[in-house]
């Protein structure tokens, strides 16, 4: 398994042709207290960059984009009952959805963990 990161502060964990997508710890920290996550339905297909989910914090709504193209195979139902999971465990239990990759080559344009750490440092 390997983990990638996007400039929109998403992490993408790839296992075979399935990618698990969430927002990074840096992103949840910037958003503040998360009170609702609107997740995509199973079977929905995205092109890279499509609006995929919406995160509502106390102060504002923010879009989450599909970091890669694919079809939604699962959404994290735990976030419905406990959206604050994204604050407490953004990069593990607070995952958003799983995609079946339709263009695995797109992964090449994403960052590694160390490159993302540098990217965040420069913000």
């Amino acid at each position: 398994m390997s983990r990638y990161f996007s400039e929109d502060h998403e992490w993408i964990e790839v296992d075979g042709d399935i990618a698990t997508v969430g927002i990074t710890d840096y992103a949840q920290e910037q958003l503040g207290d998360i009170v609702f996550v609107e997740l995509p339905e199973e079977g929905k297909t995205f092109e890279k960059g499509d609006d995929a989910a919406v995160v509502e914090s106390v102060k504002a709504a923010s879009d989450v984009y599909a970091p890669v193209s694919g079809e939604v195979v699962e959404a994290n139902g735990a976030l419905e009952d406990d959206p604050a999971l994204v604050n407490s465990d953004a990069e593990d239990e607070g995952w958003f959805f799983k995609l079946r990759l339709s263009a695995p080559d797109e992964l090449k344009s994403l960052m590694t963990e160390s490159a993302y750490a540098k990217f965040v440092e420069g913000l």
Binding site: G32, V35, F36, V54, V58
Partner: protein, 388 residues
């Protein structure tokens, strides 16, 4: 997620340089996350909006509201001159008393909302930060030359709000505990002159403190060293005022809204209603007798998805009956709440409605405001018909 640190985008899309308030360095030292607001760098949050909100409802929160405009009015016949422009009763305003009022245009549209108080040597007014320069221009245009307006930009303005505010502030400044809601007076702290009113924008008991900018940092440090007090950012200020049902200028109040539909008729006293004589009076008196048909209401939103500003509100018919003007998640009630304008015929609390959020209809119910009860320290009503 990418709020600019240096500039603020205006509605016209141009960037303006942000100003620095007296407590700028202090906020940063406290871990405040700074954003552009009303033309200044201001803290949106320190430890988190939810925690800060709940702290204020349980203890005492210190807010920096130095971006607001503090105005002093002096001169011959200043009372009559102000009454000729704003709908507040100034002549009957005793020294040490404060009232809520508005600036209205000729059509009765709201240009700003404000607090006005009589001090021993002037009339003191606090207006919104984002509108203060427009307000001054408008006031200069409409007030006679005999009245002098001074923008007190050498003063900071802090608010201490919450059930423990009186305990904390009276420890520092004995005597403030004797003030009732909407009363105010001059006090001294370490040789600095402070003007303190018992009022605020959270629905809680609390105080607003005008003090010299050079004293602000030491004063904030002294308060925050107390176990009751933490600094609170703009984020929680907004969620607190929303729970308190208090309108926010530029969102819930605009030149397109009038005081009657906004639910602010209380700010126009009996004498002003009878005699008029303020800018916009003709329209406002007409609306008081026969309202225009919209009404500002509270909305309890079902589920967990917040309905925010701009969302359309529906009854069972296909056309919207109004719009959300402020909305968000209520930390106290742990559910989304909103405020908006709807057809007054549907404004009865309990009326079931729907709000459209990103193409989905969400159930909502008209609710009486405040959503969370006010806990103002009001002066007890004088007993009626008592013996001599």
């Amino acid at each position: 997620m990418s709020e600019s640190q240096q500039t603020e985008n205006t509605e016209e899309g141009t960037e303006i340089e942000l100003g620095m308030l007296p407590l700028d360095a202090w906020h940063r030292a406290q871990g405040g996350r700074m954003v552009g607001f009303a033309g200044y760098h201001m803290p949106i949050q320190y430890e988190g909006i939810m925690a800060e909100h709940l702290w204020t409802r349980a203890h005492a929160g210190l807010f920096d509201v130095s971006h607001m405009g503090q105005l002093s009015f002096t001169g011959e016949d200043v009372d009559a001159a102000l009454e000729a422009v704003i709908p507040a009763s100034i002549a009957s305003l005793a020294t040490g008393r404060q009232r809520y009022s508005m600036l209205l245009d000729e059509e009765g549209g709201i240009l700003d909302d404000l607090m006005v108080a009589r001090r021993p040597d002037d009339i003191y007014m606090v207006v919104n930060g984002a509108t203060k320069y427009d307000d001054i221009g408008w006031l200069l245009e409409h007030l006679p030359d005999e009245v002098t307006i001074n923008l007190m930009d050498e003063q900071a303005l802090l608010a201490l709000q919450g059930p423990e505010a009186v305990t904390a502030l009276s420890r520092l400044i004995p005597g403030v505990e004797a003030l009732y809601f909407m009363q105010c007076g001059g006090f001294d702290w370490n040789g600095h002159s402070l003007w303190i009113s018992r009022s605020g924008y959270t629905g809680e008991d609390g105080f607003e403190i005008s003090l010299p900018a050079e004293a602000a940092e030491a004063f904030a440090d002294t308060l925050c060293a107390m176990e009751e007090v933490k600094p609170i950012g703009l984020g929680a200020r907004d969620s607190l005022r929303l729970e308190a049902g208090l309108p926010l200028y530029g969102h819930d109040l605009t030149p397109a809204t009038d005081p009657v539909e906004a639910g602010l008729s209380f700010a126009i006293g009996p004498k002003r209603r009878k005699d008029g004589g303020f800018i916009g009076a003709e329209r406002v008196l007409e609306y008081l007798a026969d309202a225009r048909g919209m009404s500002r209401v509270g909305l309890l939103v079902e589920g967990r998805l917040p309905a925010r500003e701009g969302a359309a509100i529906y009854d069972e018919n296909p056309h919207p009956i109004g719009n959300v003007t402020s909305g968000g998640f209520s930390p106290t009630l742990q559910r989304p709440i909103a405020m908006g304008y709807i057809d007054a015929a549907l404004s009865e609390p309990g009326t079931p409605l729907e709000i459209e959020v990103r193409g989905k209809r969400i159930a909502a119910t008209v609710a009486s405001m405040p959503f969370v009860p006010h806990t103002y320290h009001r002066q007890p009503a004088a007993p009626k018909g008592g013996s001599q």
